[in-house]
């Protein structure tokens, strides 16, 4: 009996072969890899990279302040001002190898406190809410030379997130949790879809993605709900498979939820620590699974906005403004914190409650697009991030 895996391999191979063998690599204008990790729910930058050296830190963070570097269960030390959450061991290790960088007091142009609008602005790259219906990373794809059936970018999700939606073709993949469809049924569906381009193209994309995901002996069954650390690790492993494939995508977008820590946020252990541990494990898996490809990789971990400096009445934090972003990868010029630190006195804060943004997140994205993916700089200020002259490219964060 022919298994589904067999037909997927055949179907996938057909799609790949039809896109001119030998010229496939030339199709993508870059050999660099970029992974965007979106933390949905507003991750707390003051917990990710606590400014332990700021005289106000312990006072404003109260019971959520992390133990100082060197103490038992203490945070990692990054420099004289900043530490790193103890759950982020992999990030710390890469920081020590100058392959991880923290950008602090960073924010998108969004200044309100709605997750939905905040994620919209983070992903559409606009200067304000509601002005663009496609994503900045999709708009950045045009010069990278992907094509239908040979996409440069993949969403590691069932539905493509806004950041990748738009005119340029992208593909998507997520683990299956339903019984396999029969091989012959898939063949018949391909026939039935033949005259309907919308369905035909998407089924071909999905089969090709399955073929890559199931290559090399196939992926372990994806864990179901519950163990987010395992899920993150499994998604990172799948992402690495796609990015390592010779004619596979160069860019991947991953999402992780659960960062909206209004209650019982925890410190060295607890809700947020578990999330960070899952993220850190995912980053470690990505590095080990990518092997040699890691040296060409930049991973950017970002969130829609930060959280309040002060602790609320339920041992958590509420929606804030500036936060921290993590860049990690073989191509990152790391080992340092990039921050024009605004301070934590109430007069230093945005609206007397949030960390004041001093770096625009678009400046970070521009650096990745121009210095890593070699996009023409002039496209960045017009097509990719309209109205972004106030957010110049952040220099020297990518290795040359």
């Amino acid at each position: 009996m022919v298994s589904r895996r067999d037909i997927l391999k055949v179907a996938g191979a057909g799609v790949v072969a039809s896109s001119v063998p030998g010229l496939v690599l030339a199709n993508a204008a870059t050999d660099a890899r970029f992974v965007l990790v979106i933390l949905r729910g507003a991750a707390d930058g003051l917990a990710i990279a606590p400014p332990y050296g700021d005289g106000g830190y312990r006072k404003v963070r109260g019971e959520l302040a992390l133990p100082a570097p060197g103490s038992s269960d203490g945070m990692f030390k990054l420099d004289g001002l900043f530490g790193l959450h103890p759950s982020l061991a992999e990030v710390h290790e890469q920081y020590g190898k100058q392959r991880a960088l923290i950008v602090h007091a960073v924010a998108s142009p969004y200044r309100e406190r709605s997750h939905f609008d905040g994620q919209d602005v983070l992903e559409n790259g606009a200067a304000a809410v509601g002005s663009l219906r496609d994503g900045w990373l999709n708009r950045a794809l045009a010069p990278l030379g992907g094509s239908l059936g040979n996409e440069v970018a993949i969403a590691m999700a069932q539905n493509t997130p806004l950041v990748l939606r738009g005119d340029n073709s992208v593909t998507s993949w997520a683990p299956s949790q339903l019984p396999d469809a029969q091989t012959s049924t898939l063949r018949r569906l391909q026939d039935m879809y033949a005259d309907d381009a919308f369905f035909a193209i998407r089924l071909d994309q999905a089969l090709e993605a399955q073929a890559i995901a199931e290559s090399d002996g196939g992926m372990a069954q994806m864990p179901r709900r519950g163990n987010e650390t395992e899920q993150m690790r499994a998604m990172a492993q799948a992402t690495a498979r796609f990015l390592k494939a010779e004619d596979g995508p160069r860019i991947a977008v991953l999402e992780a939820g659960g960062w909206d820590t209004h209650a019982n946020q925890g410190t060295t252990t607890g809700t947020l620590a578990n999330r960070l541990e899952g993220l850190d494990g995912g980053l470690r898996t990505l590095r080990t699974e990518l092997g040699d490809t890691w040296s060409k990789t930049v991973v950017a971990v970002v969130t829609e906005f930060g959280r309040t400096v002060a602790v609320n009445g339920t041992r958590g934090t509420d929606h804030g403004t500036a936060t921290a972003a993590i860049l990690v990868g073989g191509a990152v010029n790391g080992g340092r914190i990039v921050a024009d630190w605004p301070g934590l006195r109430s007069s230093d804060l945005y609206q007397n409650r949030d960390l004041m943004p001093t770096t625009d997140l678009r400046s970070v994205f521009k650096a990745v697009l121009a210095d890593h993916l070699a996009l023409p700089e002039q496209a960045l200020d017009t097509v990719v991030f309209p109205d972004s002259k106030s957010a110049p490219l952040l220099p020297n964060i990518i290795r040359v």
Partner: protein
């Protein structure tokens, strides 16, 4: 019927649009761009297959297609379904057909 509702919610979650948990207060958008990602389509096919395994043997998929799709049932889909190798496969094809998916 908690088991049934769990099945439905679970299926909608897999297809990318968990009930009552849209990514925006405007609710789940109904444009194809939003529900029709490559992987979302694949999950829909797997869901069609799962439902067909449960309901397929009891239903004639062509008759069901005529009944629910009426004039929007395309000749191509109707032909493909009538040629299915089994009722279960026919039901999968019906549920995953562009006509049914767009309805």
């Amino acid at each position: 019927m908690p088991d049934d509702s769990r099945f439905i919610v679970g299926a909608l979650d897999l297809m990318g649009q968990t009930p009552f948990r849209p990514g925006s207060p405007a609710g789940w958008p109904d444009t194809a761009e939003h529900w029709g990602g490559a992987d979302a389509l694949y999950k829909r096919i797997e869901w069609s297959n799962t439902v067909a395994r449960i309901a397929g043997p009891r239903v004639n998929p062509v008759e069901l297609g005529d009944a629910v799709l009426g004039s929007t049932f395309s000749t191509e889909s109707r032909k493909a379904i009538s040629r299915a190798e089994s009722d279960v496969q026919g039901m999968t094809l019906l549920l995953a057909s562009p006509d049914f998916q767009r309805r």
